[in-house]
């Protein structure tokens, strides 16, 4: 198994290289360092000399891929591509275009993001499974059909509405929760509670339907009939047998997103002014800070690939039948 995991880990290197190449093409070829300099320095009264000094400061004053002025390996290494890519692989994101240390920002901002993402994830997981189970128990009844349509209605509402309405009614009108903001430490739960609740409700429709389809696939298998024939109650059949077996598809579907929780939620964080990585990214997008956006793209890709790796590992863990070549 270890050789398999090692091989999968090695396989992710070319993917990361590809991600890096794509982001590089996007950020440096289409949008040349000169353009970036103009954006950062402001549009008015920018001379070519200003642009030149800015590029020199930020290390953008080299050729993109091939440096013909150099000799030996420096032809390839003394270029923007090499100089800007290698630190990324060492997880050193350098400085943003406005001069801030990106690594320091990330290590500070990941905690609020996690404080929001982890409770959201766990509570949503439990609620979705419970509701899906409940719907499977009611299979074939009118109530089940109604609740199925209800879930479709829930998922037809834009996530923005849940947030706007939730923020307006619950926080603004009834003063139950703070409307927005964040505080470190134990006090943070008061600020996180409302976004977590809204996140859970917003994801309920599609979540319940996803788990329901997994349970329905299990419920037609022979072992369920056997369990029923033994005389087990429907609750026992569902919670002891179906749920256990459904854990395989559930786990493998869920594990892949766990590392990405780290990235935070773009919309939620910016709506509730939570100083996490999500709002960091949004701010960077709005101020066109390409260094930060590029760092976040790369970070997100690494986390996704870790998620894929964890999925493979979890397969072996939950289902010993799975063998690797």
């Amino acid at each position: 198994m270890w050789t398999y995991i090692l091989r999968r880990a090695l396989y992710s290197i070319p993917i990361l290289l590809g991600v890096n190449l794509i982001t590089f093409l996007l950020f440096f070829m289409v949008n040349t360092p000169d353009d970036m300099a103009r954006i950062q320095l402001g549009a008015k009264h920018v001379t070519q000399a200003d642009i030149h000094t800015w590029k020199e400061e930020k290390g953008y004053n080299k050729p993109l891929f091939v440096n013909t002025d150099q000799s030996g390996s420096a032809i390839l290494t003394d270029t923007i591509f090499y100089q800007k890519s290698i630190p990324l692989f060492q997880l050193d994101f350098g400085h943003s275009d406005s001069g801030r240390n990106i690594n320091k920002d990330i290590s500070q901002r990941m905690w609020p993001s996690l404080a929001l993402a982890i409770p959201s994830f766990i509570i949503a997981l439990i609620t979705n499974i419970v509701f899906a189970m409940w719907m499977v128990m009611l299979l074939g009844t009118k109530l089940e059909r109604m609740s199925l349509i209800f879930t479709v209605a829930l998922m037809s509402i834009s996530g923005l509405f849940y947030i706007i309405i939730g923020q307006k009614i619950v926080a603004g009108l009834w003063h139950w929760f703070p409307v927005s903001g964040y505080q470190d430490g134990l006090e943070s739960w008061r600020f996180v509670l409302l976004p977590v609740l809204i996140g859970v409700v917003a994801g309920l429709g599609s979540g319940v339907r996803w788990y329901r389809s997994i349970f329905l696939e299990e419920i037609n298998k022979p072992y369920v009939n056997t369990a029923r024939a033994k005389g087990l109650s429907e609750q026992q059949v569902l919670f002891k047998h179906v749920l256990k077996n459904a854990m395989i598809p559930i786990l493998t579907g869920v594990v892949v997103i766990i590392p990405s929780l780290f990235m935070g939620s773009l919309i939620m964080e910016s709506f509730f002014s939570i100083p996490g990585l999500g709002s960091y990214t949004i701010d960077a997008i709005n101020s066109q800070d390409f260094a930060i956006v590029r760092a976040m793209v790369f970070l997100g890709s690494i986390l996704y690939i870790i998620g894929l790796l964890l999925t493979d590992i979890s397969y072996t863990w939950v289902d010993p039948r799975v063998k690797f070549k």
Partner: protein, 436 residues
């Protein structure tokens, strides 16, 4: 009068033509016809489809643009139909169906009061007159709708074999839509049906115009994503080996980049590019239209991977089957095997993904507008409406109608698309829970 063809107009009509060809093909194919009949046999799906088709109709009527000879403004057919609302120049907010402005200000006579709206008849000066007038118009609309509806039923009974008794939910939907149409036709020349926004623009007009934007988003993106998804998916599954490795590598790499960040990065670059070349576009309309189209291209670039993966897996299974092996032995060329033998057998996946993705794409438009990487600010879209409405909610008294309007218009479209998509998936997916 000269016709103006925008890029998205052209592509929407191409899409319409393709779907008409598909309908003709389906009618000629016994098996497919049965499946579609099964879809429409469910009352809910049929009703959802009728609503969806109504939206499509509005969207298409907004996709024929022309310029009148004595005028520089470009109109669409829908603009002309909604002309009274479009041309009534109000100053600021007014609530739905009201006869005066929302907020008080100093009038010409020096007193504080609410300004009478331009569109509403000057005879209406108080709330009870207004209600009376509204009730009268609504009753008229109801009578017209009933008359047309009865004619419609008689037409169905006389000239078609459709059984009016078995299709009550669908007929009820038709009636509701009819009533909506007659009501709008009667009220629109005299009222701002959903009020006006901050700049005095009719909210109903904005919400209806947004239908086209949502449709372009949902339909064109899928249309653009289909060719790479189908071709690469089929090739990966059929040729296997190195081709498969390369294609898998491409889509895993694209998948690895967080979707919304990739979209945001692409749009940022697009914005920089379009700002630099601002003088290349003939009009603001063409510029915003091109941006809409390029947004669809960007979304398509990031969204073809899911379908591609599904088609690859299906093709892997199919290419082991006898009919493909037989075709190979007979010396049929690879291209023919791919497109004549394999492609028809993965079309159910394509169909399911089109209908399932549509609603998600309509919803994502709003999110993109919020993040600041959505459609052009001059394009009317639900995303832009919601974005503007966020600030209005914090005013006192609350300006709720722009948000509520965009919510309702969006919700009805996405809900009908979702309900219809659900049924399509049930019938076409071999694994679908057909009992429901």
């Amino acid at each position: 009068m000269t016709f103006v063809w925008l890029w998205t107009d052209f592509l929407l009509w191409v899409l319409f033509a393709i779907s008409m060809v598909a309908v003709v093909k389906i009618r000629g194919n016994e098996l497919l016809l049965q499946k579609w009949q099964k879809i429409f046999a469910q009352p809910l799906a049929l009703s959802a489809f009728i609503v969806f088709a109504f939206y499509i109709l509005i969207g298409l009527s907004d996709s024929i643009h022309f310029r009148l000879d004595n005028n520089t403004t470009t109109y669409s057919v829908l603009d002309r139909a909604l002309l009274p609302a479009l041309e009534a120049e109000e100053k600021t907010y007014s609530t739905p169906l009201n006869f005066e402005q929302f907020s008080k200000e100093y009038l010409d006579n020096g007193l504080r009061g609410r300004v009478h709206l331009n569109l509403v008849s000057a005879d209406i000066t108080n709330a009870s007159d207004n209600t009376k007038n509204l009730l009268g118009l609504s009753t008229n609309a109801l009578f017209y709708a009933l008359a047309i509806f009865i004619a419609f039923i008689l037409f169905l009974a006389k000239f078609t074999t459709i059984n009016t008794k078995d299709n009550r939910p669908a007929l009820a939907t038709v009636f509701v839509l009819l009533f909506f149409c007659t009501w709008v036709v009667l009220l629109m020349p005299n009222y701002h049906i959903l009020g006006t926004d901050k700049a005095g623009i009719d909210v109903f007009y904005k919400a209806v115009k947004s239908i086209r934007t949502g449709m372009v988003f949902g339909l064109l993106t899928t249309l653009l994503a289909l060719p790479p998804a189908i071709i690469l998916g089929l090739m990966a599954g059929y040729f296997k080996g190195k081709t498969d490795d390369v294609i898998q590598y491409i889509y895993t790499t694209i998948n690895a980049i967080p979707g919304i960040l990739l979209i945001a990065a692409l749009v940022l670059i697009l914005q920089v590019y379009m700002d630099e070349h601002a003088s290349d576009y003939a009009s603001a309309l063409e510029r915003s239209d091109l941006k809409l189209l390029l947004l669809c291209v960007i979304l398509a670039l990031t969204s073809w991977t899911g379908l591609c993966r599904l088609i690859r897996a299906e093709t892997l299974k199919l290419s082991e089957l006898e009919f493909v092996q037989a075709a190979k032995v007979f010396g049929v060329s690879n291209i023919k095997i791919l497109f004549n033998h394999l492609m028809p057998n993965v079309m159910h996946l394509v169909l399911i993904s089109i209908v399932l993705d549509f609603s998600g794409l309509v919803l994502i438009e709003a999110v993109l507008s919020y993040v600041g990487v959505g459609v052009d600010a001059t394009t009317m879209s639900w995303g832009n409406m919601i974005n503007a409405a966020r600030l209005e909610l914090s005013t006192d008294p609350v300006v709720w109608w722009p948000l509520a309007s965009s919510f309702i218009f969006m919700f009805v479209l996405v809900l009908s698309a979702n309900l219809f998509a659900d049924r399509v998936r049930q019938v076409f997916d071999p694994k679908g829970d057909e009992d429901a």
